[in-house]
Symmetry: C2
């Protein structure tokens, strides 16, 4: 892809893209580039393969060398983000004009649009009138033949049509702030230069499986097994462990019969071997699934080692107040006794981290909040506090319902303190899902 000698005109080849994000803060490492991955994901959905993402500083020669590198690698589309602001450092438009051989021209309509926007920001920017007029004019300069895209912040985007020998790719120039990139995206796709490119593509067909409780190595073994009897090459398979959930994404060209066969074989083998672990076939998250299952029911939490993270996560979606009544973070033993009614003697006999304590905590939450379902978590998050019998990572879960059912677990979870806490939250959500789908 990168060095395809046939260039962008080869018939039947899907378009490819490169992305350049500019900004010295990206190279200092403290700020992560949010635009590159977002743009890559959007382009992927449209059927455009991203071959390179480059992060460069804000000097014009750095942007220029990145653009020439991408054009030399044969991509059909270059998307830039950043360097479009009103200050003198913001030079992307000028560099793109130079590299594509299209002189900058004033777009009078855009000058007026930008002027109205800048006027609203003028007080905050504390600039004088001359500086404002200059910034205004700078942002309304458009490479000859390019389309300006209406600003979301203060800077218009630019869509530059594909060129010829010197610099062939179509170029889409976007601002740096992620909110502006997202807000401008649909208009950018509707511009003439992008429409011309998109006519040559068809969106991928995608399948998004989500599994909980299966290690990545198991899926690798499953895929190898499928590969022994089916050619998987036409199918793009991405596996990714995120939020302690294994995400398996299958992507294929819609008109490719071999890809379809590979897809069906992979899905059948995963369902056959790991069907119980597959909790989503649409990419829905556990949070979304749980939100749906809780409709018409109430829930409360009793948390020790997770310290409120489960309640925080259950209340994240808008509308959570319809089912979440509340929770108790019983970090100390006194709180477990006084606020959840866990008997002193029970803790003395079994310890605060025990299946018995978790059972009693869930019972206390059921009763005190008067809910349909209660979840309790008590564990050793570490790094201290572990014993031979109850090592760091030992976490006890109890999920109980008002009608007397219970699911209890007490695994030893791997990872550091943060991992143990986050993983406990996700596991607890899956236990709630299970009790609600069984009940």
């Amino acid at each position: 892809m990168a060095l395809d000698p046939a260039g962008p005109d080869r018939a039947g080849r899907a378009p490819t893209a490169g992305i350049v994000a500019t900004g010295s803060e990206l190279l200092a490492g403290r700020v992560h580039d949010a635009n590159g991955p977002w743009i890559a994901e959007r382009l992927g959905e449209l059927g455009i393969d991203v071959a390179h993402i480059l992060l460069v500083g804000d000097r014009p020669d750095e942007m220029e060398s990145a653009l020439r590198y991408l054009a030399g690698s044969g991509v059909d589309l270059v998307v830039t983000s950043g360097g479009l602001g009103p200050t003198a450092d913001d030079l992307t438009a000028a560099v793109v004009a130079d590299v594509t051989g299209r002189p900058l021209e004033l777009d009078e309509h855009m000058e007026k649009v930008v002027g109205d926007i800048i006027a609203r920001f003028a007080d905050r920017l504390r600039w004088d009138a001359a500086a404002l007029a200059e910034a205004n004019r700078k942002q309304a300069m458009v490479p000859h033949g390019a389309t300006a895209i209406r600003p979301v912040g203060t800077a218009p985007g630019l869509a530059v049509p594909r060129g010829s020998d010197g610099f062939a790719p179509t170029v889409l120039v976007l601002p740096g702030p992620p909110r502006e990139v997202r807000g401008m995206w649909d208009d950018a796709l509707a511009s003439e230069p992008l429409r011309a490119l998109l006519e040559r593509t068809a969106p991928f067909d995608e399948t998004h499986l989500r599994l909980f409780g299966v290690p990545e190595s198991e899926i690798a073994a499953t895929l190898r097994a499928v590969g022994e009897h089916t050619d998987l090459a036409p199918l793009e398979i991405t596996t990714c462990l995120r939020d302690f959930t294994l995400e398996v994404d299958l992507r294929r060209r819609p008109d490719d019969g071999a890809a379809r066969a590979a897809h069906d074989a992979v899905v059948a083998e995963i369902e056959g071997r790991h069907g119980r672990a597959v909790f989503s076939r649409t990419g829905q998250t556990i949070d979304e699934i749980l939100f749906g299952l809780l409709e018409g029911r109430t829930i409360a939490t009793a948390e020790s080692c997770t310290g409120g993270l489960l309640a925080g996560r259950l209340t994240a979606p808008a509308g959570a107040s319809a089912h979440v009544q509340g929770g108790i973070v019983s970090y100390s033993n006194e709180a477990k006794e006084h606020l959840l009614g866990v008997p002193d003697e029970l803790i003395a006999a079994h310890g605060a981290v025990s299946p018995e304590a978790a059972h009693a905590m869930a019972g206390g939450a059921l009763e005190r909040f008067g809910v349909d379902v209660a979840v309790a978590i008590s564990g050793v998050a570490g790094p201290g506090g572990g014993t031979a019998e109850k090592p760091v990572g030992y976490v006890c879960f109890s999920v109980r319902t008002a009608d007397g059912r219970e699911i209890a677990r007490d695994p030893v979870l791997p990872g550091d303190r943060g991992d143990v806490r986050e993983r406990s939250v996700v596991l607890a959500m899956h236990l709630v899902r299970r009790i609600l789908t069984e009940g």
Copy 2:
């Protein structure tokens, strides 16, 4: 920097670096590259400027073209991450050997080290003996003259000395998993090729100011004001809004007098204009500061709209159980009454989101947990539930101490539901800091 014609040998110039991360999942956009920013930050601390970060797919020609591009741009160091695994797709070592003109040779010591490690993984990988032996040998192949770096996972890293005309930069080859990159870093820096490079650098002098409650535009205005009387060019200034905190980082070459003067002028102006907002001069986070202030004291929370996120954050550090007693997530009005003793009539008269309710919630937490400090948060996180009088973002805070002091606030916070919740947590932590430093 990118196109410096003087090349890497120019006397007195600080070394520059480029980073290449490989893996098709990075180009699909679903996985963010964690290694590039982390490596960039570490190199920056050592006095090495990062000029480019590239993300490429896992085809050998993509890695090769990235390496050649970076060498052509004149960097002194190239760091790669990814593509070092045992499978046939993992080709970074072979490409680096090829590009640097150093044939791969078997490192027998490393073959044994890797063999021992792979044996432990063998069951999980489900590979046969022949595949294991092949993977083992592949991972022990080292470019001629390069140093192998002891694996953290299964793959050794490689440090390749600088070369001559064809490909000049020193190359450091690291694995993909962030945990392995971090675990291998110190050994990598201690390798002969890296030590030779680091002899030419001196770490930057850095100052890390942290401000809360000042918009980024105010700091921009302050920096412009300093710039009117002092040349700021020799000072590298990065401002970044993260976790609702304004981070101002100043970085300079230790032996540069003009940079020192610029640094002192910037610090003096920020302290003069925004002194009250500066809560850290060492880069310490609010979490770390609060943890220190809470030593010998106890704390509890009463949360409504934040749903347990404040308790979750206070219990994140190891050792939190010494001061966090617990918290109550009183999401429903019933929970506010029954678990925190907020009178029915108070909610009827003032509403559950009111300074009065927050005051009573903090009082309930003080009493029920028997702590020195209690924090209460009740607000309208949105998107629904806002009124003209109490719009979305209206949040009431009360921080009370056992000795009868209180800090109360009821701002309207900007942003969406997630922002309002997260911002409330950070604001609450600052209010606790204030009451603990005053008391």
